[in-house]
Amino acid sequence: MVVAYIMVKANTGEADRLKGDISAIDGVTRAHIVAGDFDLVARVEADTTAEIKDIVATNLQSIAGVEDTQTYIAMD
């Protein structure tokens, strides 16, 4: 199993709605609203890194209000 943390930069103040939409994506196990350059962090689990890429590129980035993402694959 592959675990990744996705930093999400928003362009909307609707953090609650974004958190809900992101949490509802298959593979997302947690999502938090955070302070700083990014507005949310999501934890994603999948079988392969290719699946992580699909989840981020297809599902997460298509949510309205998501401006940018950065993916960090856990190595431990």
């Binding site: 103040g13 953090a15 302070a35 507005d39």
Partner: protein, 227 residues
């Protein structure tokens, strides 16, 4: 009062100057050596260091400050400074870098008492300068509320009437009044509005056009379904 300001750049240093002019005690925290030198040359008490670190804020004696202004252009540093400030019992003011974040920090950041987005105020001033004329937006009080300073002109429909006689639209309050050559003060019912007098009005965005039409007399574009 005593204030600790993080960041001696264009926002922080200016804020410090305004506070000093009003005889408040200000300590600046700045990590850039050139800015430290500039602020010291300007007579400020400056702690050199990263304001997102607790030992640096302790050197600025954050515990005895009434409020901490985290006014750098780095949101992460500002937020960290607010967390430390709150821990030491300060009121905390956070500068944000993008306007959509205002809502998020208001709702979630318990460590932050007030949020400042300097570009918003800059935009209001720039708009006033561009429009010119007899109506000036002073502040956005909330998303739907604005305070306007309006000068009575020859064309004002309300010119010659007393304040008691002027019927402002609903969702509008008259806050202050000033004769042409006098300072602003609390309005009295029998103050009469003459050319050059000023009134400060708090109005909902929905009725701004009505207020403008009544007080300034400018023609306004017809709205859909309007009369």
């Amino acid at each position: 009062m005593r204030f600790v300001i993080i960041g001696a750049g264009r926002v922080g240093l200016r804020t410090a100057r305004v506070l000093r002019e009003e005889d408040h005690d200000v300590t600046l925290v700045e990590r850039d050596r050139d800015r430290v030198a500039r602020a010291r040359a300007d007579g400020f008490d400056v702690v050199e260091g990263d304001g997102s670190h607790e030992h640096v804020l302790e050197a600025a004696d954050v515990a005895t400050a009434d409020a901490l202004g985290a006014l750098t252009s780095d949101l992460n540093a500002n937020f960290a400074a607010c967390m430390i400030g709150k821990h030491h019992g300060c009121r905390t003011i956070l500068r944000i870098d993008e306007d959509y974040r205002e809502e998020i920090y208001r709702k979630y950041a318990a460590e932050v008492d007030e949020i400042v987005y300097p570009e918003r105020l800059g935009a209001i001033v720039a708009k006033n300068a561009l429009l010119g004329g007899s109506i000036q937006a002073i502040a956005d009080v909330a998303q739907n509320l604005q305070v306007l300073l309006i000068t009575v002109t020859e064309a004002s429909p309300m010119r010659g009437y007393s304040i008691e006689e002027v019927e402002l639209p609903a969702q509008t309050r008259l806050l202050a009044f000033g004769k042409a050559d006098e300072p602003m003060r609390v309005p009295l019912p029998d103050d009469s509005l003459e050319e050059g007098d000023r009134v400060a009005v708090l109005a909902d965005y929905e009725v701004l056009d009505d207020v403008r039409q009544l007080l300034v007399g400018e023609r306004v574009p017809a709205t859909a379904g309007g009369e």
